[in-house]
C-alpha cells in the first residue's frame, strides 16, 4: 500500500518512470486527500470540477506518453499547484484580491510553460495573502489556510496555501513567490524546503507584480532533492522579463550527496543573537545545524552584515513604493475592493517623494556592496529564518511581533539566493524550526549541496506533520 501523501517528488517520479505508478492513480489519490482535508486546511482555492477534469486529462496524456516510451524527465506525470499570483491560461489569477476577482490570464506564465513542457500535471491554484502583501488577512473573502502541523497555528505568508498544500501532503511541489520572505516564511513555519533563487534566475513573466526589483519566484518542497529538480525546470532566461539573467543554468543536482570539504560557511550569529534575538529553541537548532555542517567537512567562520535595521527599512519602503506604483490607482478609486492589510501596507508608499525613492535606491546600492563584501570570503552564509514561535491563528500581537523579527528581506533587496529548510520541531508547539542558507549570486547548486548534506546527516528525517 503506497502512502501517496508521503511520497516525495523524486520518489513519485521514480515510480512513474518505472511505470509502477500511473500518473492518473497518483492524481486521484491526491485528490482524495484534498477532498477530505482541504475544507479544514484551506490550501487550494476554487478547485472546480473543470480543474479536476483538466488535471486528469493531463495525467492521462502523461501516462499515454510513457506507454509510448516518451518521457519528459523527472517532473513527468507529477502533479503541482501554483500560488494564485502565477498565470495559468484559462484559470483566473486573483491574487485573492476582489479587484482582480475576474482577472483571466491570456497566456501562461513563463514558469508554467516550462512546467508544461516537463510533463508536470497542473492541479489548481493555492491561497495567498492578498496580492502577496503578507499580514495574515482577517477580512479576506477567501478562507485563510491553517498550518497542517497544527490547525491552531498560522502558516505564515504570503505563500500560505502553497506551504499548507505541500506540508499537508496534498501535492509534492508548488511554486511560490517571495518579495519580502513569502516563500521562506511559510516554508519555515510548515517544515519545508523553500528556495528564493538569485534575482533574475527565474522569470517573473506572467506573475502578478508587487515590487519589480524584489519579486522572485521559486519552488517549495518537502526535500532538498525535490527542490533542486523543480528549480532545474523553471530556471533560465526569459526575454519578456527585463531582469531575467542570461547566465547558464547549473546542474542543481550534480553536487547533491557530496561532502562539504573545502567549503567555507559563514554564520551570521549577530542576526539571531544580537541585532535581533531568536527564541532559544530556534538558536539551539541552528547551532546544532552548524555543528552538522562542520562535521560534514565545512569550515565555519563568523560573518557580519551591519545595520540590519537600515536594510530592512529600505526594503520595506521600496516594497511600499513599488507596490503602490502597481496598485495605487485601484486603491484610490476602489478602496473597498482591497483588504485592510493591503491598504495599510501599500498606502505607505504614497508618502514617499521621487527624491526619497532615488535615495532609497542609492542606499540600496551601498547595502548590496556591504552584503557582497560580507560574503566575499565565504561560499554561503547561515542564519535564522524564523525567530519566534509560530503564532496561533488570531493572535494579532504575536503576529505583529513576528512580522518585524526576520532577516529575509535583506536578500530580496540584494538579490542573493536564500533557502530555508527545517532543523527540528519545537518542544513547545510541535511546529517546525528552521534555518536559512544564503548563497553567492547564482550559487544555488552549492546551496543545495550544503542543504542536502545537512538533510542527510542531521537525523531530521520527518517530511511532514504525519
Amino acid at each position: 500500500m503506497i502512502d501517496y501523501e508521503a511520497l516525495s517528488l523524486a520518489e513519485a517520479s521514480e515510480r512513474i518512470q518505472r511505470r509502477e505508478l500511473c500518473p492518473v492513480t497518483y492524481l486521484d489519490a491526491l485528490l482524495d486527500s484534498i477532498g477530505g482535508r482541504n475544507p479544514t486546511v484551506n490550501a487550494f482555492i476554487n478547485l472546480t470540477e473543470q480543474d479536476v477534469d483538466h488535471a486528469r486529462q493531463s495525467a492521462m496524456r502523461s501516462a499515454d506518453a510513457l506507454r509510448r516510451g516518451e518521457n519528459s524527465g523527472p517532473l513527468h506525470g507529477v502533479p503541482y499547484a501554483l500560488k494564485d499570483l502565477i498565470d495559468y491560461q484559462g484559470v483566473p489569477t486573483t491574487g485573492q484580491c476582489m479587484a482582480l476577482a475576474s482577472n483571466m490570464p491570456r497566456d501562461d506564465a513563463f514558469v508554467v510553460k516550462r512546467l508544461k513542457a516537463s510533463g508536470a500535471v497542473f492541479l489548481g491554484k493555492l491561497s495567498t495573502d492578498e496580492l502577496a502583501c503578507g499580514g495574515q488577512p482577517t477580512d479576506s473573502a477567501w478562507p485563510v489556510p491553517v498550518n497542517p502541523w497544527n490547525a491552531d497555528y498560522i502558516t505564515g505568508g504570503s505563500s500560505s496555501g502553497s506551504a499548507a498544500a505541500v506540508a499537508a501532503g496534498f501535492i509534492p511541489f508548488v511554486l511560490g513567490t517571495d518579495t519580502g520572505g513569502s516563500i521562506r516564511n511559510p516554508s519555515s513555519r510548515c517544515g519545508l524546503v523553500g528556495m528564493k533563487p538569485t534575482y533574475g534566475r527565474v522569470s517573473r513573466g506572467g506573475v502578478l507584480p508587487l515590487s519589480w526589483s524584489q519579486d522572485h519566484v521559486g519552488p517549495m518542497t518537502r526535500t532538498v532533492l525535490d527542490n533542486a529538480l523543480v528549480l532545474q525546470c523553471i530556471a533560465g532566461h526569459d526575454p519578456a522579463d527585463p531582469a531575467s539573467a542570461r547566465m547558464p543554468v547549473d546542474s542543481y543536482t550534480a553536487k547533491l550527496g557530496a561532502n562539504l570539504k573545502g567549503l567555507r560557511i559563514g554564520v551570521a550569529r549577530h542576526m539571531y543573537m544580537g541585532d535581533l534575538n531568536a527564541d532559544p529553541e530556534q538558536i539551539e537548532a541552528i547551532e546544532h545545524a552548524v555543528d552538522v555542517l562542520r562535521d560534514t567537512g565545512a569550515s565555519i567562520t563568523e560573518c557580519r552584515i551591519e545595520n540590519l535595521d537600515e536594510i530592512n527599512a529600505v526594503a520595506r519602503l521600496l516594497l511600499g513604493a513599488d507596490g503602490y506604483a502597481v496598485h495605487g490607482q485601484g486603491l484610490r478609486e476602489h478602496p473597498e475592493l482591497y483588504g485592510r492589510g493591503v491598504r495599510h501596507r501599500l498606502v505607505q508608499g504614497a508618502w514617499l517623494s521621487a527624491s526619497d525613492y532615488i535615495q532609497l535606491q542609492q542606499r540600496r546600492a551601498a547595502i548590496v556592496d556591504r552584503i557582497k563584501k560580507a560574503m566575499s570570503g565565504i561560499d554561503a552564509l547561515v542564519t535564522a529564518s524564523g525567530y519566534d514561535h509560530t503564532p496561533k491563528v488570531g493572535d494579532v500581537a504575536a503576529f505583529a511581533k513576528s512580522y518585524d523579527q526576520q532577516v529575509r528581506m535583506p536578500f530580496n533587496l540584494s538579490g542573493h539566493p536564500a533557502l530555508v529548510l527545517p532543523t527540528g520541531v519545537s518542544s513547545r508547539t510541535g511546529l517546525p524550526l528552521s534555518m536559512q542558507i544564503v548563497g553567492r549570486y547564482f550559487g544555488e547548486s552549492l546551496m543545495y549541496q550544503i542543504a542536502g548534506a545537512y538533510e542527510a546527516n542531521s537525523g531530521w528525517t520527518s517530511r511532514g506533520p504525519g
Binding site: 538569485t198 534575482y199 533574475g200 526589483s213 524584489q214 531582469a243 539573467a245 542570461r246 547566465m247 545595520n307 535595521d309 537600515e310 527599512a313 529600505v314 520595506r316 519602503l317 511600499g320 486603491l331 484610490r332 478609486e333 478602496p335 473597498e336 485592510r340 491598504r343 495599510h344 498606502v347 505607505q348 508608499g349 504614497a350 508618502w351 514617499l352 526619497d356 532615488i358 535615495q359 535606491q361 542609492q362 542606499r363 540600496r364 546600492a365 551601498a366 548590496v368 557582497k372 540584494s414 538579490g415 553567492r440 549570486y441 547564482f442 550559487g443
Partner: protein, 75 residues
C-alpha cells in the same frame, strides 16, 4: 563625489501634522481611501515616518544611482 549625505529628516514635518497630512493626501487623490478606512492615512504616514526615521539614524553617503538591481548578469 562631494561629501553630501542624506537622511537628516528635513522636510518631512508634514507627515506628523494632521492638517498638513490632509492637504497632502488631497493633492495625491487619497480622499476616498480615508473616507472608506478612517485613520488609514495617519497610520500609514506614521509607518512610513518610522522607517524613514531609522534611515535618518544611519546617514548615508550619496552613491551612484543604481536603478538596475543586482545581480543581472554579473555573479
Amino acid at each position: 563625489m562631494a561629501d553630501i549625505k542624506h537622511g537628516n529628516g528635513d522636510g518631512r514635518e508634514w507627515l506628523y501634522d494632521a492638517d498638513s497630512l490632509r492637504v497632502h493626501a488631497q493633492s495625491l487623490g487619497l480622499d476616498k481611501l480615508e473616507t472608506h478606512d478612517p485613520g488609514l492615512l495617519k497610520s500609514t504616514a506614521m509607518a512610513t515616518a518610522r522607517y524613514l526615521a531609522i534611515l535618518d539614524a544611519h546617514p548615508s553617503h550619496l552613491g551612484e544611482p543604481h536603478l538596475v538591481p543586482q545581480p543581472k548578469d554579473t555573479p
